[in-house]
């Protein structure tokens, strides 16, 4: 579904991604973790067709980026730490707008079904600006999956969520995974990163330094591996 080969992204003299190789299969949930500045968000923006790669191969669902970005867009949904929703519109209006933009059939039914799925049916006429952070994030998932994309891209989706809201988000993501969507999540939150996914990869200084099956590694071992690969253990030690 997602295939990155030697992906390089450079801003001026700043080399952010230095030859990233990553593969996310159909129905697979892959989490990419890394510290601040590792290049996670840049990588996500390239995969989401928002940035053009400097070099390397990016294939999404068999289509190449950036040439076939128009085709790829119909098959991806993006959940970011920004809601990508209009605060002044109601929940239903937001989803209706995106249903129109994606030119979906049975728009009203789809919008209502999406609102029910994320538990916001009763708040459909309320402006998004009146929602809590957790409710906004649930509506964001409804927006991102309204057109039933094959691939769901999650960019730090847990930012600003309390424990209850995080748990609700976990359930929604688990449901999306069970529905067969391929999911690529980037996060710096290691616990959430490991819980839901099939595979977990570590991005450090613009390169994938480790890619493991999350079912074969315990959270404690993964923390050690992460510290070893990113050098965070050394940093802590040197501070001490």
């Amino acid at each position: 579904m997602i295939k990155l080969q030697g992906l390089v992204k450079q801003y001026g003299m700043n080399l952010v991604l230095r030859g990233v190789d990553l593969h996310v299969g159909a129905g697979e949930f892959v989490t990419l973790v890394g510290s601040n500045g590792a290049g996670k968000s840049t990588l996500m923006r390239v995969v989401a067709t928002l940035l053009q790669p400097t070099s390397g191969k990016v294939q999404i669902g068999g289509w190449s980026l950036p040439k076939q970005a128009g085709r790829v867009r119909r098959h991806i949904g993006l959940v970011s730490h920004y809601s990508l929703l209009y605060g002044d519109l109601t929940a239903a209006e937001n989803l209706t707008f995106f249903a129109r933009l994606y030119q979906l059939d049975n728009q009203e039914e789809r919008v209502m079904a999406a609102l029910k799925k994320v538990g916001l049916y009763a708040r459909q006429r309320d402006a998004v600006s009146t929602f809590s952070r957790g409710m906004v994030q649930r509506l964001t998932i409804a927006r991102a999956t309204l057109h039933e994309p094959d691939i769901l891209l999650l960019d730090e989706p847990y930012t600003g969520l309390d424990q209850d809201a995080s748990r609700l988000l976990d359930d929604l993501l688990r449901q999306e995974h069970e529905n067969g969507r391929s999911i690529l999540m980037i996060t710096h939150d290691l616990s959430h990163g490991l819980n839901l996914c099939d595979r977990v990869a570590i991005l450090n200084q613009g390169k994938i330094v480790c890619d493991v099956d999350s079912r074969t590694i315990s959270p404690a071992d993964f923390l050690d591996l992460y510290a070893e690969q990113t050098g965070s253990k050394k940093k802590v030690a040197s501070h001490e």
Binding site: A48, T49, L50, Q52, G70, R71, R73, R74, I76, L78, S80, Y82, S83, L84, L85, Y86, G87, D88, L89, E93, F97, F98, R100, L101, Y102, Q103, A127, R143
Partner: protein, 239 residues
Amino acid sequence: MNEQVTNQKKTSESREFITAVFSVVWKDLRIERHTRQTVSVMVMFSVVTVIMFNFALESNLDAARNVSTGLLWATILLAGTLGLNRSMALEQENQTMDALLIAPVPRNAIYLGKVISITLFTLALELILIMLFIIFFNKPMWRPMVLLILVLGTIGYIAAGVIVTSMTIQTRSKEVLLPVLLLPLALPLVLPASMGVAAYMFPQQPVWSEVQSAIFIVIIYDILMLTAGFLTYRFVVES
């Protein structure tokens, strides 16, 4: 057979394009219906400006009447920058521009949708301005040709404004940069447009040959800016 398939594809693409344009317009009008922030800010600014000039030039009513066409366009330009800034800033809040950009719609559909919605807001403002100019300066504004020049001038100004605002909105000094870049760009439009309107400010109507060149320049400016927007908007928003 191949030709039929190509024609069907073209029809479907055109339908998708038009749907995308009007989805953006629908969204902007809905937001305005809920908040009334864009038009109300533009109207407040314009009303204050017109009243201020009316009192400043009260002692010299002839001077007031002579400068009223220039004042009308200056007010539209400055109020227009407020509308442009507000409407494009909406797409920066919660990064909604990203949501538009990952949707499978052509970038120039987003551009055209924005041009239409901001033009509608500016035309609503102009209706109020026309009333004010009739009341304060006793000018015969309610004439079809005056209205036509205002509509054409507004389309050109907003067509240029959406391109420039889309560039400046991502910078830190967007409030300063927009008028600095946009107003000189609007000069080739505003000069003939205000000359065209001024020609209709006398009791006797001008003959067509007196205003045709001004109106043609405005139309050519509109076509140039809309074409530039269509061709370059993709690079503006993706860079």
